[in-house]
Subunit: 203 residues, 4 copies
DNA sequence: CATGAATGAGGATTCATTCAT
DNA sequence: GATGAATGAATCCTCATTCAT
């Protein structure tokens, strides 16, 4: 999807990702990006039309990579439970492996009308992942395995239980005295699946 | 808690809240704040030592007000279910009434080592709300009403189901075609309680 | 017409006139203007929105001043010859007293579609000077003093004979070995009037 | 005079002429010249040592070409009147056929100490045209056809009446409501000759 | 308290020029 | 000859902050 990128261009994008993640678009400094990338400041403008355009490209590529990886990792399975577990793993992996992911996402979310937010949403939607799990869940309801709940709301809840922690971690950790975040995440996976399944299954 | 504030100082704080919410600390412009507040730029420096100090004060006051209001609104009740509903209502109210709340929070969360994030967490912790619901839930487990789940993880899930939507709304709305956000929030309250209670109750 | 201008603003305008006259809009340096004016570079942007806007203001004020002065100097007379002499004097004075005048004018003329050129033309037209001399000349034709020539073309010729030298001086001086420009201008006034009157009078 | 120019070099010179005419030396952009010429920017530096050197070369060639053409077009005639008409035609042709001519000239004139202005003046002087008409005119005076006027001033007036319009056209057109420039120029030729001859002839 | 003016240190962007291939 | 990439020195403009009144 991003073929034949010159080494310089790649280095700029990598440096920019770090910079934008740490300082946001407004707080980022082009000088610093150039320094991190080990290139002349003017080279940034040779490859990208402006700081804003660079920012957009960074977001596009970063989210695209993560979603592609996620799509390839989700286990295709007939058993809804396996699919659920697979999703939980993928979420955790995506956020753990890419530390910049959360920050970039948070800053875009704070930019109310941000074009990038729309782009991200489109990417997620067109990845097909949401539809996949929903139709699987819907089937489970029709087959009598799950209570006839509001599918949309229920799945939103599932996403939030998974993703939400990574977003609010700094606050949650402080309030609940989470010291070992890795262990907490690890325990969290089971807890989320457990709560969700008990919440929807017919017994 | 914030007594004897001059009208000018208040106007500055209000204007600053809007500015910081929209643009963040780095993107905010002192000129614009002065203009919004209808005061001379120098007045801002008469009342606050720097842009950063103003930012901090804005966050402190804003979150303090919201948490105070939340604390006063939560219904004290013996029935866990009522307490749960009360919390859900309070979350929804806090986020709906204060549009700037989410943005400010998101931006602070993105600021990794942010002192403000710690401040916010402290405020929430010292409001006693988390402890209240957790001990109520713990009692329910001991009385045999709820399954013996990990209390911490479970309650984190509950928070995320409630709060998470407001944070990720721009993305969720786009993926799930939410057009009427108010109605979605309204439906959401019941769905969350329903999922959570089914998830933890012993039947 | 330009009342209550602060000393700083005036100093900037004066410095800018010199700079723009010497280097043109593209070649002018904001730093140099600030230095010449003895003010901080940022003050220029405090008083004017951009280099271009400053340029425009400089031109507007400069030409306005010169035209106002010219209008006040032209002798109102019934004798066409006196009016003619008066014009010649005024042209010479305007160009001699304001060395920047020519350069600024030349550069604007070179800017084909320049808004400023239109502005200058409007100023000249609305000064009433062209109409004044033309109607006086027209009267002379009707009274039988002058040959029935094309008034427009003839008056354009008169202007060019007067103004043209100042514009092409660097070339003319070199080709015709003009060493004492002041003397040449002085002789020129008579020569122009003489040629023109002989050219139009009926004898 | 400019032999063996490679196609690339020619294309650069043509593109540069357009660029310099439109924007002047300071406003011209090397990138834009390269783009217009359809060559790589570095090629410009392969053929010319700097932007300034290119500029100089452009002016040299352009004026040389125009003067050469003018010299070849002027009709050699014993009758002064024919010579006069020939000059008027040549001026009009030179300015009408080469739209860039005026702009380049104006910009050089505005550059007070410009070396190029001297170069242009030298070219004109060494073309012999000025001397030719002056000596012809001088002969006319001596033969009693013309009044004993100041030859230098008179001929400067003649030049200005011819050339001046093309320089001040943007302003003149606006003040005198010239809509059809071609027609105005056409009428102008006769008017200028008429005024000049009546101005100098003895009757 | 309040203001208009002033300032210094950036900050994004540009541009003539050069280099490696 | 020709090119894409690279560079350093500007260049315009901004912005938090301060000062005189």
């Amino acid at each position: 999807m991003f073929p034949e990128e010159s080494s310089t261009r790649k280095r700029i994008l990598t440096a920019a990702l770090a910079e934008f993640s740490e300082f946001g678009l407004a707080g980022a400094r082009v000088d610093r990006i150039a320094q991190k990338a080990g290139v002349n400041k003017a080279m940034i403008y040779y490859h990208f039309s402006s700081k804003k355009a660079l920012h957009q490209e960074v977001i596009k590529q970063h989210f695209s990579r993560i979603l592609t990886a996620a799509g390839q990792t989700v286990t295709v399975s007939d058993r809804f439970e396996d699919l659920l577990k697979s999703f939980t793993e993928v979420y955790a992996a995506a956020f753990s492996i890419n530390p910049e992911f959360v920050n970039i996402l948070l800053r875009e979310l704070a930019d109310s009308g941000s074009e990038n937010t729309k782009m991200i949403a489109d990417m997620i939607a067109s990845s097909g992942l949401p539809k996949q799990i929903v139709s699987s869940f819907q089937a489970g309801i029709e087959q009598g395995h799950f209570r006839p709940v509001d599918v949309r709301q229920t799945f939103v809840s599932f996403i939030l239980m998974n993703v939400g922690y990574f977003i609010l971690a700094p606050i949650i950790d402080k309030i609940w005295d989470v010291t070992d975040r890795d262990q907490f995440v690890s325990e969290r996976k089971e807890a989320v699946i457990d709560l969700f399944l008990h919440g929807v299954k017919i017994r």
